[in-house]
Symmetry: C2
Amino acid sequence: MERIAARRRPGRPQREIGGIEQRPWKQLTRPYQPIEILSADQVQTIHEMGLTILEEIGMRVLQPQARQFYRSAGCDVDEGEMRVRFDRAMVMEHVAMVPSSFELRARNPEKNVKVGGRHCILSSVGGPAYVMDNDRGRRPGTYAEMCDYLKLIQSFNVLHQEGGGPFEPLDLHQNTRHLDLYYAEITLLDKNWQPQALGRGRAVDALEMVAISLGTTRENLANEMPVFTGIINTNSPLQLDEPMAEGLIALAEHGQVNVITPFTLAGAMSPVTLAGALSQQHAEALAGIVLTQIVRPGVPVMYGGFTSNVDMKTGAPAFGTPEYTQAAQITGQLCRLIGVPFRSSNVTAANSVDAQAAYESAMSLWGCLMGGANLVLHAAGWLGGGLTASFEKLVIDAEMLQMMSAYFDPPVVDIDTLALEAVREVGPAGHFFGAAHTMQRYERAFYSPLVSNWDNYDTWMERGQVTARERANVIWKRMVAEYEQPPIDPGIDEALRDYMERRKREGGCPLN
Amino acid sequence: MERIAARRRPGRPQREIGGIEQRPWKQLTRPYQPIEILSADQVQTIHEMGLTILEEIGMRVLQPQARQFYRSAGCDVDEGEMRVRFDRAMVMEHVAMVPSSFELRARNPEKNVKVGGRHCILSSVGGPAYVMDNDRGRRPGTYAEMCDYLKLIQSFNVLHQEGGGPFEPLDLHQNTRHLDLYYAEITLLDKNWQPQALGRGRAVDALEMVAISLGTTRENLANEMPVFTGIINTNSPLQLDEPMAEGLIALAEHGQVNVITPFTLAGAMSPVTLAGALSQQHAEALAGIVLTQIVRPGVPVMYGGFTSNVDMKTGAPAFGTPEYTQAAQITGQLCRLIGVPFRSSNVTAANSVDAQAAYESAMSLWGCLMGGANLVLHAAGWLGGGLTASFEKLVIDAEMLQMMSAYFDPPVVDIDTLALEAVREVGPAGHFFGAAHTMQRYERAFYSPLVSNWDNYDTWMERGQVTARERANVIWKRMVAEYEQPPIDPGIDEALRDYMERRKREGGCPLN
């Protein structure tokens, strides 16, 4: 039995529900050793198995130019089967060209971010089809709602990058909505943002617009600090499709960062065993990494780990499971083995912003962050297996990320913090509320939450039994209302609008 | 943008809501290196500071027999101030007597558990004043409800120990209700259980009854495998009160395990800095550990870490914060330094079984389990800062614990699991649902959840938008209905009842 008698600090007001306190902008740097799931030998075995898959089975590559690139680098290409097989030494020669770290440029230079080593950037959810909030449930999203969501991404200090469009604005035409998205990403945020890498057209539009926003040209981007991380999903198992290959080549040609991310759901698109799924993931990631180095030797590239599993009873994808956590941390080991920066994600299958959403996200985040991820995509806002961007989940995730960020600040151990004199002054059975040591430090001593409510039960009842999900709703609305747009040069803004209008007149990028 | 197209396994029924699938009974063994927050030098510094506090400031010890024990071992005792000061070498001589591991006996020998090294036992919530469920909210609990809660603790395979009474049965008299509790703990469970260590009388009643249940005598317990872990909270800062000292001495005399747990809330009962709070925690823990070794050299004892912080705006205790996680993992480092098994807890300040409850518990659990805890008390059921035992939180925690247990089973890497032939068989752009490798393994391939719902959104909506908290309610009711009482020898049962009745006639243990 634990005897707990909480003592209340007298004479101080209780915290307001919905009070918004944030940690300052700060990139994450992991101070602790990463968790290692497998032995060094086992990691080497999976790496070798990935190379064996590439050598013996190979990849199906649907895009002719990509096959041409592979052939030019000495791969065995079967044009009839569109099959590319890789010599293992050739793979490792290309992997050796990959920079182990780099920096990404933001419109606001103070928000440039480092990728690699112990550095980690946290990125918002990208790609969902739907938007959801407490008030109106799940629905197709509009451009206006998407702009509100982008304002929140800008406002949360703990998010270092926008993740490629939080959801589709379905009130805009599908051939041109990427232009409106890019314009919103550039003007509503001053952080780094992600382009859509689905096909060459969308990639080139992103490159043109980001160049305008930075006062440079698309042709010059390759000679400057990279701006873009573009997500390239292989079509697992072992296939690279046309739009993704086009996007990859376009980004690599321009010196931008491809994030090669096999979607290896164990039991469906990869073997039912984690060792097998990760071997296949590794093969697919290596194939994509190699292509970037053929296109432009030395261009930065990342290895995306997205291995999870399906529910074998239903085929439904599972996220934030123990297997997911292990897969993320093993992928971190594989990335460190080959010296390529690692991308992971914060994911859940939950459809509601409830305890499941939180514990699956927690499993994911510990998997990513203690697995040594350098980029956490979908770090905030992902719900329902990634089909939905939730306003409240964005806030809950921001809290969880802030907590991990604070956890990554280890406590200082020195004469001041050891506080021997304070312990002496207070003595047995006293209390520290009024101690000089406390008074000098109490305002910034501890993590101050965004969403968490620490009221006692009676106070919590009196105040209406507000749950975390409801508090998150209050917070995002207040933050949207308080949002301030970062300034932009009027000439740049006009040039962006001109580009967008011209491309709309031309018809944008028709989807096949 | 991530392109995710989930593929459904055709022709298989979807999982029923509330279906109860558990992992088998299995003690946790941590296969990974613990997370180290501080350097070895910093850990040594905090250890030395703890010894300095004991040497220069000392502990206030309210119970005369305890002071006598300390004096007999060479401590400097000021009877007027009831202050005990400790020579650091004497402290370490006694700490050196502590066994680094031991085994705890359960009524069912198959449920004996190991404590120490990489072994960890998970224990249910102990000590709350209230019970809570979705149907009736928070309320004072009854004996009947407490028995239902104990049935669940018995039923969850992932719980290895009952934690000392989930809540107070307020329909029973306060002087004798511990007897009814012990009887219920013995007869409704066959797992190890915790006694109440508040005063000698309650401890002796527990020892008598557990001896009867095991077919032995109280006098013999000290010569057998230990049965009890009793929680001893110091009255922080730096005070050991009478009931706790009495309980400690009684348990140690009988060869049982004291779990010395300072309640060092930083900013209130300890310095506002984590280094200071942990130094004070360490001093108090060492003082209690030393007392056990004076009473009975070599008796097993554990070091309980419970350092958290208060909200400095309100004085409310905070749990499951980044500071809590760091404190747990640093306490693990201190325990490994001195070779004493480590106890930690799964805690939250949330009043509702919502996302906050889950993410604060997740921070706690990662703190405990990757900090190397050998006993996690309050591992399931704790809500509202420990004032409430929640039926639904018990279920949610059981899910989170099962997930951590599965995470602690690293994947096998061998020819079978690497699955090269399956990858070859399926080939590019195929799928693995029907592969022989999948069919042979799919039933047990992945973690199967207790509470988590992986339905897609439309199915989830059709089925009534059931949240995790609501599913947990269905699950615990079904488990109570399906509970089977473990058999007990009728003679032992009668002897237990006789003892309980006699002690009730005698008046039990009056509280002062």
